[in-house]
Symmetry: C2
Subunit: 411 residues, 2 copies
C-alpha cells in the first residue's frame, strides 16, 4: 500500500483498539458485515454452556427462579437502555423486530384514531413496511401507508399523519435520518414516531429520551452482536405507558402471569408488551454479548465509525476510480450511519470475489455492495487492505469469472 | 417399598428404557416436570457449540447459506410433522406459541366473517385466551370469546361458532380432549378448529391430518425438550394454504424476501406464516432435541405414558390415602394426557417439600400439584420412589415448615 494515510498510526492512537480481543474473528477475515450479523463475542460460548449445563441441565424448571430466566426481557432491556438513551423501565428485549414493530404500531395507532396515514419512506427496511401493511389491513379502518423518498419525510409530515415509521439508518444506502429533527416535526403536526434502530443501535449514540421519541424497536444481531436471529428490543417512552394497548396480549404481558386468570389484565408499564415465554438461549447470548459495551463510550464509537467510513470512501475514490463504482452513501458525515454502500453493475460478482479473498461485505439487489464498519473490532489497516482487495478485483475484472456469478439463496 | 407392583420388572420390559441415556438428568433428581420444561438432551450442547463456533464464529454471515439457517423453520417443521400427523409442508417452527396462535386465529377468523363467536374452554391455557381477547379486540368487529367447561365443548359448538380454540391436554388437570370428535363436530356446524398441542406433542400420537384439523400450534420446550423458551410451531392443513391470510406479515413470509420489495406479496403456502428472522440458537437446539424422536414409536410412548400415570394414581391411592389429596386428573385412560394433578390444601408447600427431596413437579394456583410423566426418560421405579417421598412428606406434615411456604416468582 502506498497512501497518504498513515493507517498504522491511526490504529496506534485508537482508544477502542482494545475491544477487538473481545471478539472471535477468524484469522484472515476482514469482516465488514457487522451491519448484517455481528461476529461472535468471546463471552457468549461460555455463557451458553453455563445456561445449557447448569441452568437448564441441572437447575431445570427451577431456573425460572434461581437463574431469573423470567426477567431476561427486563435484564437485557436494562443493558440496552444506556445505548439508546432510555431508562431501564422503557426497554424490553423480546420476540423479533417485526413482531415488536407490530405491537408498537398497533399501540401508536390506538392513540391516533382520527388520522388516516402512516408515513414511511422508501428506504425503510421492507419488513417494516410489510408489517405496517399487515397491521393496517387487520385494523380494517381504511388507513393507508404512504411512502416518500427519505429526503422528503420532513416535508411530508402533516396533520394527516397518525404515525411516522422510520428506520434511523437506511439499510441500503447507510443514510442517517436526523432523529431529533424528524421527531420534533412529527410532534409539531401532532403525529407520533416509531424509530427502527436496527442499523444504528450499538454503532452510534442514540438519545431517544433527549429526542422525545415515542416508540422504537431494534435488532439484537447487528451492531449489538447478539447472534443470528437474536431477540429484538422495544422501547416506549414513559409518558405512553399508561395508555399502552397492543393486541399480542400473551401471558407474560399479564399483570399476574402465574395467577393463571382466564381474563387478560395488562401488566403495568412496558411489561404489557411482552407476549410469550422468552427464548432463554437467545436472550442469554444477547445479554453476554452486551457486556462488550459495558465500558465503551459511544461517542468514541461514533468518532471512529466516521473515521473508518471516511477513510474507506477516500481510499476507494483514490485507488478504485475508473472501475464503475458509484458512492451511494452520503458524503456528509452527519448524514451517514456506520456503513458505506457502493453501486456497481456487477456488484454481486464483485462481492463474491471479495468474499473469496476473506473480505466479507454483502450484496443488496439490484446493484449494491454494502460494507459495514463496526468500530469495536475493525482497524484502520483492515480498511486499507479491504480497499486494496477491491482494487485488485476490479482492475483484473475478476468479477467476470463464472464462479462469482452464481447466486445463493441469501444474497 | 412394599407394593403389589413389580416396578423392576416393568422397567426390565420397557422398550423405551434405552432412551433415557439421551438426556442429561442430574443424579438424585426425579424429574416429573417435563410437561413444563423438558430436560436437556445430550445432543444439544454439542450442537450449540457447533452453531456458535463453526457456524456463527467462523462462517459468520455466510452461514445463512452454508449452514442453511434460512430454512431452519422448514427443517425443524419437517422433524415435527411426523409427531403430529402432518406433512412437512404443513408445519413450520417459528416465534412463540402465543404469537403463532395470533397468526392462525387471525387466519381462521378471516375465513369466517359471518360468525360471531370464538369458542374456548376454561381449561385452556390462559395465554391462549388472552391472545384471543387481543385478536378480537384488534379486529373490532364485536365478536366475542365464549368460555365453557371442557366437558361442555361438544354441545356448545353451534352455528354461531366461527372458531373453536382448544388445548388438547388441559395444563392443570391433564384432561385430554377427544381431538377427532371435537373437530368433527366443529366441522358439522361449520366452525373451524385451532388445537394447541403444547401439552400433548411428543407425549402421545397426534393425527392432525387424520382428524381433519384446520390449524394447530404447539410448544417446543415441554415434551419436545427444545430448551427454555424454545421456538414454537404452527400447523395449517394443506386445504387452507391458498386462502391463508395473517397480519404479522414480516419479511420471511414474503414470496421473495431478498428482493427487498416495498410491497408485501405472501409466500406460497404455509411459509407466509413466517415473520421475522428465525432465532438460530433456539431453532438449532430444538432441531437437535428432536433427534431423540427419530426412532421412537409414539404408540409405545403413549402406552408407557398411560402405564406411568396409572401406576402413579394407584400408588398414590394405595399409599397416600387419608392425607387430603384429591385426584383431579381423569381416571379413564382415554381422557388423560401424560400428567397427573393432585389437589391439596397445602399444595404449594407439599411441592416445595418434594422438590427439597429431588422430586421435581410443580404447583398451579390455587391448590394443584402437577406431575408430568415423560416416557422417554422416566422409569417405573422412579414413580414408586416419588410416591414414597410424597407419602413421607404428607405423613410427617413436612409441608408445615416455614421454608416450604415461601412463594417464588414463578410457581
Amino acid at each position: 500500500m502506498t497512501s497518504p494515510f498513515d493507517l498504522n498510526a491511526l490504529d496506534q492512537q485508537d482508544p477502542l483498539a482494545g475491544c477487538r480481543h473481545l471478539f472471535s474473528i477468524p484469522e484472515g477475515t476482514l469482516y465488514l458485515d457487522g451491519n448484517s450479523l455481528g461476529p461472535l463475542p468471546k463471552a457468549v460460548p461460555a455463557r451458553l454452556q453455563q445456561v445449557l449445563q447448569q441452568e437448564w441441565g441441572t437447575g431445570l424448571i427451577q431456573s425460572w427462579n434461581t437463574a431469573d430466566w423470567l426477567h431476561l426481557p427486563q435484564r437485557v432491556g436494562a443493558r440496552l437502555a444506556p445505548l439508546i438513551g432510555a431508562t431501564p423501565e422503557e426497554v424490553r428485549a423480546a420476540d423479533s423486530t417485526s413482531v415488536n414493530l407490530f405491537k408498537v404500531l398497533a399501540a401508536a395507532l390506538s392513540l391516533q384514531n382520527e388520522r388516516p396515514v402512516v408515513l414511511s419512506d422508501t428506504g425503510n427496511f421492507p419488513s417494516d413496511l410489510y408489517i405496517a401493511e399487515g397491521a393496517l389491513q387487520q385494523e380494517g379502518r381504511g388507513r393507508t401507508l404512504r411512502l416518500v423518498e427519505p429526503e422528503a419525510v420532513l416535508e411530508a409530515l402533516d396533520e394527516q399523519t397518525a404515525v411516522a415509521l422510520l428506520t434511523q439508518v437506511d439499510y441500503r444506502t447507510g443514510r442517517l435520518h436526523d432523529l431529533k429533527a424528524v421527531t420534533q416535526r412529527a410532534h409539531e403536526v401532532g403525529a407520533l414516531v416509531i424509530w427502527d434502530l436496527a442499523h444504528s443501535a450499538g454503532a452510534l449514540p442514540i438519545d431517544l429520551n433527549g429526542g422525545g421519541v415515542d416508540f422504537a424497536v431494534g435488532c439484537g444481531y447487528k451492531y449489538l452482536n447478539g447472534g443470528p436471529g437474536a431477540p429484538a428490543f422495544v422501547y416506549v417512552a414513559q409518558r405512553h405507558h399508561d395508555s399502552l394497548q397492543q393486541p399480542l396480549s400473551g401471558w407474560l404481558g399479564h399483570a399476574q402471569p402465574f395467577a393463571f386468570e382466564t381474563h387478560y389484565t395488562p401488566a403495568p408499564g412496558i411489561d404489557r408488551l411482552l407476549c410469550g415465554t422468552p427464548t432463554v438461549l437467545g436472550m442469554s447470548a444477547l445479554e453476554a454479548a452486551l457486556e462488550v459495551f459495558a465500558d465503551v463510550d459511544l461517542e468514541e464509537v461514533r468518532k471512529k465509525s466516521l473515521q473508518l467510513t471516511q477513510l474507506f470512501i477516500e481510499l476507494v475514490e483514490e485507488r478504485c476510480s475508473g472501475f464503475g463504482l458509484e458512492l451511494v452513501t452520503p458524503r456528509l458525515p452527519e448524514q451517514r450511519g456506520s456503513q458505506v454502500s457502493l453501486a456497481h453493475e456487477e456488484a454481486y460478482a464483485v462481492m463474491q470475489a471479495l468474499i473469496a479473498e476473506g473480505v466479507i461485505g454483502d450484496f443488496r439487489a439490484p446493484n449494491l455492495m454494502r460494507f459495514g464498519f463496526a468500530p469495536l473490532y475493525l482497524s484502520f489497516q483492515e480498511v486499507g487492505e479491504a480497499v486494496e482487495h477491491l482494487r485488485q478485483i476490479l482492475s483484473e475484472r475478476r468479477w467476470d469469472r463464472p464462479e462469482f456469478k452464481q447466486r445463493a439463496a441469501v444474497t
